[in-house]
Symmetry: C2
Subunit: 113 residues, 2 copies
DNA sequence: TCCTTAGTTCAAAATATGTTGAACTATTGA
DNA sequence: TCAATAGTTCAACATATTTTGAACTAAGGA
């Protein structure tokens, strides 16, 4: 099963930027970037907000075309739409991810590990 | 004379992205990028909104550290803080400017010329 | 079957953002 | 000095976004 995702030409620059212009969502994207290839589910973002709130932010990321969400039983497997974003906006995601690594929320997470 | 501008370490990624996550401001930045080196004043953005509204958007860009505004008589000379942004967020501005060139507002402006 | 786990949906409230017109300041040119 | 030009500020309004808790669905495991 699969949730609605925009296709390439429906992904708009202004929308991507405004969705990423938020600490919580930037932290989520930074975390996803550090864990590419691994299966990441909503629960892993619990440091970043309440369950309800994360559901809201994750929907925004998906609807903007930034993440892909796959339904797997009671969980959702979330990943970056890296290839899609790279082809639509070359270099954008890389520069954002690099800059996002110094975000307090992500540094805190790394310190704990 | 000079208006208040944030210094390098006061420029935050989330703020820059959220300020650029708006059609009008993206168009302004795209225009500035096409006219680097030239003196650009507020009046030149009149296609993008009313005088009052532009004053608001230009203040947001300045306060986020994206533009520099220099007071010159009754005008303001506006420019991108390219070097500052490049050093703080390498590659970010370039990728945004490249992607912003296909924005309707900017294409319209080029068609008229 | 019953309970737990994972996440969603909804409506309400709080907060932030964008847009407007009227009144304003400051500089410049006649 | 006077009027015009360039842009700002303010308050008001409209709209959008974020956050919350309570109630929900749907899948698994005991």
């Amino acid at each position: 099963m699969s949730l609605p995702h925009p296709n390439l030409d429906q992904i708009s620059l202004a929308n991507v930027l405004s969705v990423l212009g938020d600490q919580t969502r930037l932290a989520i994207v930074g975390y996803l970037a550090c864990n590419e290839g691994l299966a990441v589910s909503c629960g892993q973002f619990s440091e970043f907000g309440s369950k309800t709130n994360l559901s809201y932010h994750l929907a925004k990321l998906r609807e903007a075309g930034i993440t892909h969400t796959e339904v797997a039983g009671t969980s959702r497997l979330i990943s970056l739409r890296r290839a899609d974003l790279d082809s639509r906006f070359p270099g954008l995601l890389d520069s954002i991810i690099t800059a996002a690594q110094e975000l307090p929320a992500l540094e805190r997470l790394r310190d704990e590990a």
